[in-house]
Symmetry: C2
Subunit: 218 residues, 2 copies
DNA sequence: AAATTTATACGTGCTGGTGGGTATTTTTAT
DNA sequence: ATAAAAATACCCACCAGCACGTATAAATTT
């Protein structure tokens, strides 16, 4: 089951974009240290296949429609604790990185880095080491060096109602419009709004929307 | 210079994400009908290289930070009218599609389709035909069947200064703060703001920020 | 059963942004 | 050289949202 025994690393790929899968596959195919044991554009189907397939390393995208990479990684960690996970992402935003680290992934590389880096990531991970892209490491360093800035990694736990409000704000509705839509008073909307800004520690709609997008609320 | 003469299609790839370039390259490499004459993660550098390189087909991503695929395609169309352009995008939103069609691209495939489709797109385009992914075609059909809906195709071409303003808005600065930072009057910021909202056809900061994130402006 | 969270709602004063303009200078494109 | 686009700046009236509050019913959690 390990790389040493069969002399090839067994890789499973999950990515929303078939073309990305095809690309990675083609590249690994030409390198006899790797073997692509399977792939899927659907995280859920991938979970089933992994059960039978038992690869060494899972390469997963993070921003997937069906199930986020974070959720997938969580499930994987629970079901197959030994399976190594390498996150492959477009973004190096702190929230996502820290979410993934918390889940306990083994590596995080950005899509804007080359394939060589991906290969070394795979090799290092298979050795039990961790691997992070330079930009990701930099972001982590920054997070550490800024002792306890107000932005923390606070879990922005909005209530369902508040999330609804955020969604409507993002749809360019004003308080009156939101009230109408939810059959509540404009005053109530104002109160929700206040609470949302307080909780998210944002001071303008701009910040709120950025956060909401980062956290995949909208 | 054409595919028939040298029996290989010369392809140039532009994409923000090196890993995507690497993937496509690896795949085309294994097919002797294609030849990757060059690639770049920077649209601007690509433009220079294409001048010398003169490929048959340019594969370009659409959502790039430096220069959007739309802008790149426009420049290409003006400078090298014979060069075929194949857009490769994550999104099938109507605005982008119609922008690209207007510029006069030769094909549009989505990243969530397989590599085989990419290959046939390349072959058909080299024959002077057009090629569009199924989803893209569907979106076009829908657009036609819905006679003249209000959503039109707005060109979101913000000026450099306006983009600067958008960035500062997204950083939760108010007009006064922005003016201070850019050494301009608060009145000027107000004017920029007005123009930005008019151009982007957004009516609140929420919409603007969403758009800005979509378009990778921030 | 008690405590907490969530969702509801109102008042008031202030200010920052909106929408309506107009206009000049500088830069870029033709 | 000239037209067009971009960047600069101001005026005025209006009101939506913010910052302070306070308060109560309903649902959840402990």
């Amino acid at each position: 089951m390990c790389a040493f025994l069969k002399n090839k690393l067994s890789i499973y790929i999950v990515d929303d974009h078939q073309i990305m899968i095809d690309g990675i596959k083609a590249l690994l195919l030409s390198d006899d240290r790797f073997y692509v044991s399977g792939q899927n554009t659907s995280p859920l189907k991938a979970l089933e296949e992994i059960e039978k397939n038992r690869p060494d390393i899972l390469i997963t995208d993070i921003n997937m429609k069906e199930l986020s990479g974070i959720e997938l990684a969580k499930k994987i960690r629970r079901l197959f604790p030994d399976l190594k996970i390498l996150a492959l992402s477009m973004h190096d935003d702190r929230a996502t990185i820290s979410d993934m680290l918390e889940v306990g992934i083994n590596g995080y590389v950005l899509k804007n880095t080359g394939m060589e880096e991906l290969k070394s990531a795979l090799l290092r991970i298979s050795n039990g080491q961790l691997f992070f892209s330079e930009d990701v490491t930099a972001e982590m360093m920054k997070a550490i060096s800024e002792p306890r800035n107000p932005l923390q990694k606070q879990n922005v736990s909005l209530t369902p109602r508040e999330i609804e409000i955020v969604k409507l704000i993002s749809m360019e509705l004003n308080n009156a419009g939101i009230g109408e839509k939810l059959f509540i008073s404009e005053r109530t909307v104002e109160t929700h709004r206040k609470n949302i800004f307080r909780k998210t520690n944002t001071k303008s709609v701009a910040g709120l929307i950025k956060l909401a997008i980062e956290q995949h609320i909208i």
